[in-house]
Symmetry: C2
Subunit: 185 residues, 2 copies
């Protein structure tokens, strides 16, 4: 399930411009499937070249003209076919975890600061997701609400984890400071 497929999935529900597609994707699936203009616009061009979408130019005054893309029958078929293919495994990369992993080589105060910042990030993510949940409550499918709940659950789980390790890091920091003082005394 690559970006083009995902875009077809969104266009299957409603015709949109590339700009709107980016905005909608960012709010709904952004936390597990990111996309930038630099990938969306070329993808739209390719999809149109393949006959999977069709565009209509809309002239506007006061704001830039736009191109509304709607899915074709061939596009719907392509989307259905790709749903049958097995999803690739998740990809996950976290530099924060890497910093934690090398915690013993870190300045202790700085590590705690990173933990705090991350907790704030989680809290912000939860607020965003709550907002999204409200925004889409009426129009989203139950499946779409499930993905939101997943995001909320993992953010909450991470806050628990951070709450759990913070005192441990604090204790380790005291130890290492104590150890250093002993050594230098």
């Amino acid at each position: 399930m690559n970006l083009k497929t995902v875009m077809l999935g969104f266009l299957a529900r409603e015709a949109m411009t590339g700009y709107e597609l980016k905005h909608l994707m960012g709010r709904s699936v952004g936390f597990f499937f990111g996309a930038s203009y630099g990938s969306i616009y070329p993808a739209l061009r390719d999809l149109e070249g393949g006959g999977f979408v069709r565009s209509t130019a809309v002239v506007q005054d006061g704001r830039p003209n736009k191109k509304v893309y709607e899915i074709t029958d061939s596009g719907r078929e392509r989307f259905r076919a790709s749903l049958a293919e097995p999803p690739a495994g998740d990809s996950f990369r976290s530099e924060f975890m890497m910093h934690l992993f090398f915690g013993h080589l870190h300045d202790p105060g700085r590590l705690l600061e990173l933990v705090h910042r991350r907790r704030e990030g989680c809290r912000a993510a939860i607020e965003t997701l709550n907002g999204v949940e409200e925004e889409f409550r009426e129009i989203a499918t139950p499946y779409q609400m499930m993905t939101l709940r997943s995001g909320l659950a993992s953010a909450r789980a991470e806050i628990s984890f951070l709450d759990e390790i913070e005192p441990e890091i604090r204790a380790l920091a005291r130890e290492s400071v104590g150890g250093t003082e002993e050594a230098s005394a």
Copy 2:
């Protein structure tokens, strides 16, 4: 914190070959920071070019010769400096979540199958992580054990999530089948 920095971090503890580096990284940080030979070997070449590591060729018989890389003072300094830089945000991409998101366009049975497969994947990840935890218990730092616990926690959280949504999906599937039957009746 890019791959080169991470590699320096590992080499700061012990000199190793590229092959061993890959193996060790895969077992310890693999679930939040992947790396393949195609990225490790060129990185090693670059690091040596910059004077951050130094290699010693070791001739072996019965098996291929190898190059053991050890970190230099300059390499240690570079690693320390990059610890001071703020970590980039996590990157996460999940095609499974995307499939769930488009659940209403999915064959209901197939979606449940994907959920099952994923639960199996989580269970397998937990077993792997438990094995890694035992393997490294004696030699890992407390920080390193924390990252393992994080992996375990998120895998467990995801199983809970899957357990939660499975009956919901089953109910939705019944509804949609019922609806279809009514419509076709």
